[in-house]
Subunit: 277 residues, 4 copies
């Protein structure tokens, strides 16, 4: 008995749920969980179906294709452990949370490697017996630095790259190598305070709530599809540094939750947005 | 074109979604929104289907019955405005919120009448041109009082009774007249602080969060199926009275949200719990 | 026995709390509640002292002035009911909440009048026996319209103007008449989505949380000192209209809470920020 | 220049703030932060004063005693790192969070040792070079087990014991050794679901919110003074196991925050409640 997740994305039409679940039924697959969403404005249909049974992948997809509108998009992937590479700079909290949760089984993930432009997080990574690669950005161009990083990252065949407070902007060339497969945590409640020093910006504006945003990376900085956001209250007692300190807990929690959703195949990217089942 | 909501509740079996949506498709009904839930522990299947089209109610239910397991339970009701009677004692905030939201169209409800054991909320009710009935509980037995209330309430053919801070315990005889159709707001985060003076109990215990709970009423006080809960933080500065004052905003908000869910046919009672689609 | 609130704002120095509370003690005033805040970055001291007793206002302030650094700023105001004028356009929810809470005593305020550029909220205002003034903006310049509004508003000697979804931008001339005395509710989590149609902007960006912001109005649109913010989660099911609908509950709640803080003299404006005691 | 925290707890009287801050001023101590609270019902005054300067501890306390009402209670402690011993059973998440936050400097604490009745968390503890002591409860009486634990714990001179999911009930004899110095995390929103299996109890009751509570341990199980609580929403999709899984994030976060407050000397126990400055 295997468990797989089928994501269907196509133009909306009458009877789609009946047709798709009917095909699954013919294939003697049991539906563990089913969620659908119709974007009525765009006339678009999305469905996530968690299936259990003996799979004939090709046959199933072929039979589904017969009942779906043209230009449908389907993915059928195994439930279970995914492989990630984590990119970091100097801050430990997000990486620490991912390592720790993976250690005690709260994140179903294989951390293949940690790659960083500083050495500072090597001791932390070593504790969990995960390979750590230091690739300095000094004395090389941005392009060269990224090529060095990629030459390491690519060897791990990771399904996702996780930017756990990686503080350098990625070039479009880098991003295109992992389309919709790079997850970033931004330390503000986007789209407020894009760019550098969001906590300082927040402090200067005198906001009463700060937040964090996990999103897929696309070519526009801080503008990719949002996966998860959360906030905490602050008040006039908070300096910009206090906000940064308190914000770390939200950052790590939002990134872990977003990662969990992505690993569970609950997130479908759609234009510049996500459907989170 | 009508819009109706089909709630299906039956033993779980393979292919149920395909079968039910298939029948709807045959009846040329468009599925606007579909949500299902399987309680794997109990082997129970629940589905809420929002349908649009020309309905043959009897035919649809008969065709569905053919494909469902025995001992299924289905309801098919019109989407749209429901009729309620509100029962109150002395406090204005929950009644005020329901009247106000109904006035500006945020609650899709017809408030048929307000019934109270005090006269104090008559001026508020009058502002919104809703009939107000004062039925004193003084000098009569509990049973007589309830009979008097019911003789008025029953004339309004309300789909739901809303206890908007009605501060008397209802007898089983009363409750049985409106099974799973009486919604109460309890001013604590149930099951903490059942019974009287929950804010005082909360203050004495020194909790750091207080809440409110909207639930259906059954024969055990404060123990019916929970529909909605919410909380707010408190601290040592709060006296029991401060908690009560701050709690009112949560009470009114939780009751309004629970009512909205019930009016939208999003709540299915199941044992002593609810499935909230 | 009177109750008054003393707000002190001056350069920070050693012994300020001892000196100020010492003077209050000499005046035989009882401190009901005291809160202080030092902005260490700016070297600025703020204190809010709730006092009870027999007041000699001039004497107290004179004695305090002797112990404070130069260029101090003090205010001493009566605790208790303040007078407001509410400005609205077409939406009922914020006005409705203020009227209702004032009616049942949850907001300690006298609503002197409601002024609007539409007639639509007159019936609601009439229910609560509050004067309603309709001043159309059609066929007049912005300046003329504001002059007409002010000629009415000024007669009420209001301590605060509350923009309860007043959907027109005020000119600097208007704002200067009520410096730090105009409270606005903006229907987004500022500084995200300034300007028009914030819910549509939020929907287009695909955010997972929406919010509302109450702030004092200054000459830059949506950029005045923030008093209170709150948020609610949304997901892909929400259209821009759904966000607007759900957002109304947050808007009304944030505005009411901000108003309560201002009425209690808990808010001190400081540069473009607020200290909220 | 040292930094110390003065906690004053005495009967309320006029002029206390002036008197206490006056003595501090005479001692040429700078007040970094001051917070006071009066319980008007009990006529009790509490103040937390963060002081900086050159301290003459004995002299300061003696001078303060002269101006305070009789039966006052004062503590003057150094700000900065405190020493704790952590007690655990099998679950890693709370211990993991404390170890990790201590590692990257987010908790200002020295973790002197981890003591457990199982060996399962030794590998995790070892990663952070903290001594781990395994003291099996098998084959010994409860009293003997606790004596063995205490004979180890006492050697560390810890200021606080942290029960990071230590799943055995402590005897009064144990608790009395560390009065108001043992912090426990209970996996429910107390006082709902005291005792064993709170998530199962929550699931059976069908609640829509679950939570966690950090409290000091006294002789009544789950009834000690509450320090911090937090909650997360759940729905009908959650099994008792899902609730437990999701609850872990709240448990660890609530325990860390409570610990931080205690380490900062922000928590004053008062009867069976806490004042949290």
């Amino acid at each position: 008995m295997e468990r797989k997740i089928l994501i269907t994305d196509c133009a909306d039409a009458q009877g789609l749920i009946a047709k798709i679940t009917g095909v699954c039924f013919q294939h003697q697959l049991n539906i563990i969980k089913n969620s659908e969403f119709v974007d009525n404005g765009q006339g678009r249909f999305f469905m996530r179906t968690e299936l259990e049974g003996e799979f004939n992948d090709e046959g199933l997809l072929a039979d589904l294709r017969k009942v779906l509108p043209e230009q449908n998009h389907m993915t059928l992937v195994n439930a279970g452990k995914k492989r990630i590479v984590v990119m970091v700079t100097k801050e430990a909290h997000c990486l620490g949370d991912i390592l720790m949760k993976s250690f005690y089984g709260a994140l179903d993930v294989e951390i293949a490697a940690v790659v960083s432009n500083y050495e500072i997080l090597k001791p932390l990574t070593d504790k969990f017996d995960v390979p750590f690669h230091f690739v300095s950005h000094e004395g090389v161009t941005r392009g060269e630095h990224e090529q060095k990083m990629l030459s390491i990252i690519d060897t791990y065949n990771a399904e996702y790259l996780v930017l756990a407070k990686y503080m350098r902007v990625l070039t479009p060339e880098f991003v295109e190598r992992y389309p919709n497969r790079i997850i970033n945590i931004h330390h503000s409640f986007l789209p407020a305070f894009v760019g550098a020093s969001p906590y300082r910006q927040a402090w200067e504006r005198g906001v009463k709530i700060i937040g964090a945003t996990a999103h897929f990376v696309n070519n526009c900085l801080d503008e990719g599809p949002i996966i998860k956001q959360d906030v905490i209250p602050v008040d006039h007692h908070y300096s910009a540094e206090d906000m940064a300190r308190s914000g770390r807990d939200v950052e790590k929690s939002v990134l872990s939750k977003a990662l969990q959703l992505v690993l569970n195949e609950q997130v479908v990217v759609y234009g510049n947005k996500t459907v989170v089942f």
